[in-house]
């Protein structure tokens, strides 16, 4: 069965510092990979996705993620964090062979300190 692990429940980063959120997945087939963000009081917003091709994908709000098949990882990065990035971040996996369901990690809560 597919699974997603986000090992960090909470992360605190200083404003202006770089950010990396970790995501590891377990999936027997070729995965589709996603990062979603949920800001306080808001719904889930798609940040970026990987389906195929270039393993470094660019998303909205200055985020990027790199797919590393050998490590079963899809870590999210941002070079300089803004206070407005404080939110909960979810990594998810779906099947490239056609999927109806997404499997999510437990989420990582990002706190941004001044």
């Amino acid at each position: 069965a597919q699974s997603v692990t986000q090992p960090d429940i909470h992360i605190t980063v200083s404003e202006g510092a770089s950010l990396e959120l970790r995501c590891n997945y377990s999936y027997g087939a070729t995965p589709y990979l996603f990062w979603y963000v949920q800001s306080p009081g808001q719904g889930l917003q798609l940040l970026l996705k990987y389906f195929s091709g270039d393993t470094l994908v660019q998303g909205i709000k200055g985020f990027e993620a790199e797919f590393k098949r050998s490590q079963s990882s899809f870590n999210l990065r941002k070079p300089s964090v803004h206070w407005s990035d404080a939110a909960e971040y979810f990594c998810a996996v779906g099947s490239a062979e056609g999927y109806s369901t997404l499997t999510f990690g437990k989420g990582t809560m990002l706190l941004v300190s001044p």
């Binding site: 889930l44 779906g94 369901t101």
Partner: protein
């Protein structure tokens, strides 16, 4: 273009009562999904509609949950009778095609007392 909308945004009910959640997908999206996040746990899949048909309902927890999508437009998710463990956030998502990106609504926060 309007996104996925959900109603109500919050609901507080007592154990044993009935609650109906509504989801309006993005116009033209045939695929509609329900997910749930119980406090402290992952967001988990409940079911998937293609138009008005249930494509996959493997995630529905028990027969107290009933989802419908009459006419293939909006969907409702009814919980009857509600139990304490049903508390959580219920998300709806839609996609244009099968296997395409799912766009999520803001969720309905359900609290069963």
């Amino acid at each position: 273009e309007a996104g996925v909308t959900q109603f109500p945004s919050h609901s507080v009910i007592e154990k044993g009562q009935t609650v109906t959640l509504r989801c309006d997908p993005i116009s033209g999206h045939d695929n509609l999904y329900w997910y749930r996040r119980v406090m402290g746990k992952e967001i988990k899949f409940l079911l998937h509609f293609v138009k008005e048909s249930k494509q996959d309902e493997s995630g529905m927890p028990n027969n107290r949950f009933l989802a419908e999508r009459t006419g293939g437009t909006y969907s409702t998710l009814k919980v009857q009778p509600a139990e304490l463990e049903d508390s959580g956030v219920y998300f709806c998502a839609s996609s244009q095609g099968y296997g395409e990106t799912q766009y999520f609504g803001p969720g309905t926060r359900l609290l069963v007392l």
